[in-house]
């Protein structure tokens, strides 16, 4: 929560530079040590968790705004970003309206009105991210998919909706390129799918299917290191990957 002085400054700046009534919320997915993770913010001195978000500059395309917001939270310039839904319940930001209602009169108070939020989800390279809290937060951190804290406002709804969308996308888009390192083993890639879907997959069938997409190259040298047979290393065939991204996997009708 902002102090009165902070609110005055924030509001003045925001009212001048941002499009009123519009916000952006991002669900940022990363993958590390066999676990899917989401980037969350925790406010100062409170156990209140939020999705990273922000507003749209007056002359800024909304996708650019989402990239800018993510750049600020993660340090990353190029991420896979996709809008997936608008959240426009009139009461969705009521908590924030009420929080600041007494501090500033309505016509000066950035948080006095309703915000309709555009939901984006991002797939990012875990190691590329340097989490930066925003001015409302003391902490910006990864949380495991199966250890998400209670989220404020309607952010749980937004997060769940993003995950559902991502699961659906698995059926007609490749997604690993933005989440995996350059080289990876088949079991590692399988783990990514399993953690997104929240269920186990059959090793052999997974391999056949994913290879069938034709977006992987196998390198000659396997990776050694464990007390077991050395797995092959794979990397994405960028050309085919890009093609699959735009064309989709299976025809349907």
């Amino acid at each position: 929560m902002l102090s009165k002085q902070q609110l005055i400054e924030y509001s003045e700046d925001a009212r001048k530079n941002y499009v009123n009534h519009i916000s952006i919320d991002c669900v940022v997915f990363g993958f590390h040590e066999g676990q899917m993770k989401v980037l969350l913010l925790k406010t100062h001195n409170e156990e209140k968790w939020y999705l990273p978000g922000g507003f749209v500059l007056n002359e800024e395309p909304i996708d650019t705004a989402a990239h800018r917001i993510l750049q600020q939270r993660t340090g990353l310039d190029e991420v896979f970003l996709q809008q997936f839904r608008v959240f426009g319940d009139p009461d969705r930001s009521k908590v924030h309206n009420d929080m600041y209602v007494d501090m500033l009169p309505k016509d000066q108070n950035w948080f006095s009105g309703r915000f309709i939020s555009i939901g984006y989800y991002a797939l990012v390279d875990f190691f590329g991210v340097i989490p930066h809290p925003d001015q409302f937060s003391e902490l910006c951190a990864w949380r495991d998919l199966d250890d998400i804290p209670e989220l404020e406002l309607d952010h749980e709804k937004i997060y769940k909706n993003a995950l559902d969308t991502l699961r659906l996308q698995l059926n007609y888009q490749p997604i690993g390129y933005n989440l995996m390192p350059k080289e990876f083993t088949m079991p590692e890639l399988q783990k990514l799918y399993e953690t997104i879907l929240g269920k186990k997959l059959d090793r052999r069938n997974f391999q056949r299917r994913i290879l069938g997409f034709g977006i992987l190259n196998r390198s000659e040298e396997p990776r050694k290191g464990g007390a077991h047979k050395a797995p092959y290393l794979y990397s994405f065939d960028l050309e085919n990957y890009q093609y699959a991204l735009t064309e989709g996997f299976k025809g349907g009708w």
Copy 2:
């Protein structure tokens, strides 16, 4: 285009009642005589065509706003409506900004600013619709999918995006209930799919597939009338249809 007096009245009303910077545009699909159709508006004394659209009331959920807007254009209370994408290019409403810029000072002019538009598509019963032009338009009319005029602003992009989304949805959702009459023949339903997809399908395979979804009931009595074998009549099994709507058709992963 509004006259100055109209603009003053419209702006005053809109600025009081609607959420600024947000608009809604609807792509309304109907089906009649084997042709997929879209509902379009034509402005007074000009050959300018638009998608039906509107704004969000101050305390109104966005889905409700979309329903209200559609109710005003079609007279229909219950339609299948789905948001599919946000269009937020800062220049997208530039033509309208410029059109009215000299008539009213910025702070009073509803059309002075940028509008970020939430795209909805609707599937409606063709015969239920009584098209009502809005105050900008002299005509509200159905146009065949293969005879869409040039559209103003970014409405062509919105329309095409809606159609693409609809085509994708065919793969994991039933869609006919909102477009077909109570009873229909298999060839009629096939025509719907063909006109959405813009291509011919095989009769026998279509039938097997659609029956496989388990959302159709066949009535005993066929429909007579043509100089050919009388086709069976089908209707949707609402319970299964509803289930398929929420659960989707095929599993994928």
